[in-house]
């Protein structure tokens, strides 16, 4: 038997276009906007065997549900250097430019204060500090790529880091991930837990990436892209980006306030 031909970008593009057409038809027929990606998204091949086929079971109307509360973190859980990924080593990290990320986290209502924000990313060459990342780009001894911070009273957070490089992966032939930073957020309830990725504006790889395109709703996709904000840039130092994060899901306090 001859092995199947390698999966090409145009195969993936065709699958993504088909799913999008189906979504847009459903929207035109009155379906609500899908804010999150479907768990079953075949163009992202790793999703095939890792999504449930049974519908999720709704748990609503139980005010005692443990998930309406959530873990708490405090200043013992972060250190002074955690928010500046360029200062965690003695030397200077390889970079094109430092980037300052600044924005706020909120739930669909009020700002989320004192919540843990974690991020991780590849270095400027597109390589993760992870043994299983075999992308033949150099590791950077002065850059690990992990950050943590607690949100302020207004829900704001701020990190200083470098722009990660794009990197190849094996979803299909010639697959490249656009530059992105992974984020993990806690809200005031476990239901609000969010893990996601932030992108930089105008990246030419957006259209080719089945992970970004797993968010089929165009407006929702746009919410994953940070905005350049010149007022956040610092002379001779860093370019500023703003990326607001809005957490989904009910919480005990939110329900008490009448949603």
């Amino acid at each position: 038997m001859t092995p199947p031909p390698p999966l090409t970008q145009s195969d993936i593009d065709g699958e993504i276009a088909g799913i999008r057409t189906g979504y847009e038809k459903a929207r035109a027929a009155g379906a609500p906007a899908a804010h999150h990606p479907p768990r079953d998204f075949p163009p992202y091949r790793s999703s095939l065997l890792r999504h449930p086929k049974q519908p999720l079971v709704a748990v609503d109307g139980d005010p005692e549900a443990v998930e309406l509360s959530g873990p708490v973190f405090g200043h013992t859980d972060v250190t002074e250097l955690d928010h500046d990924l360029t200062r965690q080593h003695a030397g200077r990290s390889a970079r094109r430019a430092h980037h300052r990320l600044r924005a706020a986290a909120r739930q669909r209502g009020p700002a989320e204060r004192g919540q843990l924000v974690e991020l991780w990313q590849a270095n400027a060459s597109g390589r993760y500090a992870h043994q299983r990342d075999q992308h033949p780009a150099p590791l950077d001894p002065n850059f690990t790529g992990v950050g943590r911070v607690l949100t302020g009273d207004d829900g704001s957070y701020s990190f200083t880091t470098i722009k990660p490089g794009a990197y190849p992966w094996r979803n299909h032939e010639n697959a490249w991930r656009p530059a992105h930073i992974h984020f993990s957020l806690f809200g005031s309830a476990f239901t609000q837990r969010l893990v996601t990725q932030m992108y930089f504006p105008g990246d030419p790889l957006f259209a080719y990436d089945p992970i970004l395109q797993s968010v089929t709703d165009e407006a929702a996709r746009a919410r994953l892209v940070a905005a350049y904000d010149h007022s956040l840039s610092r002379p001779e130092q860093s370019l500023g980006y703003r990326w607001d994060i809005v957490l989904d899901g009910p919480s005990a306090t939110w329900i008490e306030e009448g949603r």
Partner: protein, 189 residues
């Protein structure tokens, strides 16, 4: 207050391993606590293969039933920047463990107290290939519970983490992402 559209979820990807796990992430119970129990199991995919790159989080009430939690799950050493482990006194109620190369995870914790009549630990699963995390519950016993009562018996069984007869205070909870005996996953709206 206007309701803002939420930020979409994305997969955790394959390379979170140097960022999200932390030493002592599965040690929710204070070391040597006489009431500590072990919850462990495997994560499987739709082909029945273990998932070696999942990361599983746990949230639960304290033994007194409190859902207030406490900071300090990731307590840090300001001198080295390293992780110190929990302080051994406060019950944080939070755990985070990656699956190992066999797709296996273990946490040590204290049994959750009231308010729920049947004690359960809330579980959140992340993995490469999973575009949006999945919530489930590990019930440490079967009993009267609104969610359990709403499920067919074979589905209900996927949420019960029964004590293992040949091990002391040890409960087994496997998570099947897809297929036969697929775990019940939850939607909180």
């Amino acid at each position: 207050m206007p309701s803002l559209p939420p930020t979409p979820s994305h997969t955790v990807g394959p390379f979170y391993g140097y960022a999200l796990p932390f030493p002592g992430g599965g040690d929710i119970a204070p070391a040597g606590h006489p009431d500590a129990l072990t919850l462990h199991g495997y994560v499987y995919d739709g082909a029945g293969e273990p998932v070696p790159d999942a990361i599983v989080e746990f949230w639960q009430a304290g033994p007194d039933g409190s859902l207030a939690g406490a900071p300090g799950s990731m307590r840090r050493d300001p001198v080295t920047g390293g992780f110190l482990g929990r302080n051994g006194v406060d019950f944080t109620g939070f755990g985070r463990v990656p699956t190992d190369a066999d797709g296996h995870y273990t946490v040590r914790t204290l049994p959750p107290g009231a308010p729920s009549p049947v004690p359960y630990i809330s579980v959140c699963v992340f993995a490469r290939g999973l575009t949006h995390h999945l919530f489930t519950r590990a019930y440490l016993a079967d009993g009267p519970d609104a969610l359990l009562a709403s499920l067919a018996p074979e589905r209900r069984a996927t949420l019960i983490a029964l004590p293992e007869p040949d091990r002391d205070r040890t409960h087994r909870f496997d998570i099947r992402l897809q297929g036969e005996e697929e775990t019940v996953f939850l939607d909180f709206g």
